[in-house]
């Protein structure tokens, strides 16, 4: 029973990891910008939902505010930070440091506004019920898994069946070729930020009710996103999704064999194993240099 319980818990965790990691992977894969502030996007969305929902506006305004906040933050960061840096010298490292700095600044601003302590959204949906003897699942776990399936299915459709999706994929392959077709790479990159930032919103909202929030939670989100992107194969959206699920499951099922203090190490052992054995990741393409 414990194994089943841990598998279900792992699937819930993995579904949320997949959503956040796919957002990061989409941005990184399309634009080659190491968007470290993706964790900050998560924090902004979560706290906006917490604030709007907590002040009694209800679920829909809360979700809208979180989505608008996340998308606005992603777009503003792209326009005001990444684009100017890339225009001047475009160093990967400079962009990373700028993104890292923004992440720290957001963490502190959120701490100043909402306090640095623990907060959570109180909802009966986070309370588990016994579905079979010894196995408890909360309604939010089902919602998390359903949201992930729907959103990632929708993303797959968007990338495969729409012109904008095709442009995003083309941008990841060859930005110069995109330009020769008369498309604006900057505008396509902005689309990547909109979609990638919006994808963290469900995970941020569900986390605000299950794990709870504090301003530093973005670091963990970023760490997992990075690990899932590498394990899944850089640039591979299905690979990142699978890796997110795999990491969530591994983190949870590891409790069957090791103490809970080693579960984070399991995540990074998997990451290390992939780097050594299969550097291209689960579904990534091998690139010859």
């Amino acid at each position: 029973m414990l194994a089943i319980q841990l598998a279900i818990t792992g699937l819930q965790t993995g579904a949320l990891y997949a959503l956040t990691a796919v957002g990061f992977s989409l941005i990184f894969g399309s634009t080659r910008i190491f968007h470290f502030a993706h964790g900050a996007t998560f924090v902004i969305a979560a706290y906006l939902f917490y604030w709007v929902y907590g002040t009694g506006w209800g679920l829909v305004p809360g979700v809208l505010a979180a989505t608008l906040g996340a998308v606005f933050f992603g777009l503003v960061l792209d326009r005001l930070v990444y684009v100017p840096i890339q225009r001047h010298e475009g160093s990967f490292f400079t962009v990373f440091v700028a993104s890292f700095g923004v992440g720290i600044a957001v963490q502190n601003v959120i701490g100043m506004i909402f306090g640095r302590g623990f907060t959570s959204v109180s909802t009966p949906l986070s309370r588990s019920a016994e579905i079979i003897p010894g196995v408890y699942v909360s309604p939010l776990a089902w919602i998390a898994m359903l949201c992930t399936a729907l959103l990632l299915g929708g993303l797959h459709f968007f990338l495969r069946r729409t012109h904008t999706g095709a442009a995003l994929r083309a941008l990841a392959d060859d930005p110069e070729l995109v330009r020769t077709f008369g498309l604006n790479p900057r505008r396509i990159a902005a689309t990547a930020f909109v979609v990638g930032s919006a994808l963290v919103v469900p995970a941020a909202i569900i986390t605000s009710a299950t794990t709870g929030l504090n301003p530093t939670i973005g670091h963990h989100v970023m760490l997992i996103s990075l690990a899932a992107t590498i394990v899944g194969g850089i640039g591979s959206i299905p690979g990142t999704m699978l890796a997110g699920l795999l990491l969530g499951l591994a983190e949870s099922l590891a409790l069957l064999v090791v103490d809970s203090q080693w579960t984070e190490a399991v995540t990074f052992a998997i990451l290390f194993a992939f780097i050594v054995i299969r550097p291209s990741g689960l579904l990534g393409r091998v690139v010859a240099h």
Partner: protein, 375 residues
């Protein structure tokens, strides 16, 4: 030329005016978590120490104004050592406030080597009693809290099987050791223990493991935001067993958490309704300044700061320079101190002894259910 001379003269006059010849500024240090997941404690600690500074300055206890140089420890040993090095070598403080078990242990060697007094009012690891003569505790340590909690849980509530979730650091390890010792004595059993890293935030898997043990109660030995996340996720994931913890949980965020309802916590006993002038002044002015009731942490850092005021004032009266050695000698020579909570004395190991209260959280407040005295 004359204009420049006038400006320089005015500047020099301002500097001289701002530095009275006889008064000595008193600066003590403090290593509190001011950022990161434990920052919530920093605010609580500072509320007590800042109020004490206000009172010391208002009463002109010392020859000059007193202030506190705060350094951010983040509740972690490494940044704390950096902060302590700065306080000792740059700021040159003779006395510093410390918090958290890991932090206190890390800085204690610097305190000892440089003869700087370090006073802990927040860390409760039992080994904090053995960190040398320059390390003092104005808080009862967790071994006493466990010794008060276990008999209440096992004998009074009949909860004989206890599972433990503990943070993998010196505090968590010390509480685990103490529970392993105390549970059999009370006729109970520590059925299993689960360590979690200090950075962990996801505990649904641990909750499943706790449920599988069939424990009657769960003892949570963590701190900061993490302990709240553990409690919330235990309840959310179907753990209905009684939850118990130590004084680290007595922060406003934790008490207000709906999942905290019914929890058993322990902590030092402070009679806030006491009519003794020090306690009454502290309680009245704390409520006026912060618009909330004080907690034991507020008391401890008020006491730790006031203790410096008392010792330094006595040294100034003797005409003795205020150094770590002199403060230690004066504390040893002083039989008792009038602090918040009453007249107290230090044990030989530099730790104040307080009775321990066992409390239950009801409606966002911790209500005392019993009190245990130790001699």
């Amino acid at each position: 030329m004359s204009k420049a001379f006038t400006i320089m003269g005015a500047f020099a006059a301002c500097v001289c005016y701002a530095m009275p010849a006889a008064a000595a500024d008193h600066t003590i240090g403090a290593l509190f978590p001011l950022s990161g997941p434990n920052a919530v404690y920093g605010d609580v600690f500072m509320a007590g120490s800042d109020l004490a500074v206000e009172h010391i300055n208002a009463d002109h206890m010392l020859s000059g104004p007193m202030s506190i140089a705060y350094e951010d420890s983040q509740g972690l040993p490494q940044p704390a050592v950096v902060g302590m090095t700065k306080l000792v070598n740059v700021t040159g403080v003779p006395y510093t406030l410390s918090a958290f078990t890991g932090v206190s242990k890390a800085i204690s060697t610097l305190a000892m080597r440089n003869s700087v007094i370090a006073v802990n009012g927040g860390g409760v690891g039992p080994d904090l009693a053995d960190l040398g003569e320059y390390f003092w505790n104005v808080i009862p340590l967790a071994n006493l809290e466990v010794r008060a909690a276990v008999p209440y849980l096992v004998e009074s509530l009949g909860l004989k099987k206890i599972a433990l979730i503990y943070v993998d650091d010196p505090l968590g390890q010390a509480l685990k050791d103490e529970l392993e010792t105390e549970m059999p004595k009370a006729g109970g059993e520590l059925v299993d223990s689960f360590s979690v890293p200090t950075s962990a935030q996801q505990f649904s898997g641990v909750a499943a493991q706790v449920r599988a043990t069939g424990a009657d109660a769960v003892y949570v030995a963590s701190y900061g935001n993490q302990q709240l996340q553990i409690v919330k996720q235990l309840r959310d994931n179907g753990v209905d067993a009684q939850i118990a913890t130590y004084s680290g949980y007595a922060v406003p965020d934790a008490l207000a958490l709906p999942e905290s309802e019914g929890m058993i916590i322990t902590g030092q006993s402070v009679d806030f309704s006491s009519e003794d002038p020090v306690t009454k002044r502290f309680v009245d002015e704390f409520k006026a300044k912060y618009d909330r009731d004080p907690t034991a942490y507020n008391v401890n850092y008020y006491n730790a700061t006031l203790l410096y005021g008392i010792l330094a004032a006595a040294l100034e009266a003797d005409g003795t320079a205020i150094t770590g050695e002199a403060l230690l000698a004066k504390r040893r020579a002083t039989k008792s101190f009038d602090l918040v909570g009453g007249t107290v004395s230090f044990q030989d190991n530099g730790t104040l002894l307080f009775p321990i209260e066992v409390k239950q959280i009801k409606g966002g407040r911790a209500e005392a259910v019993t009190s245990v005295s130790f001699n």
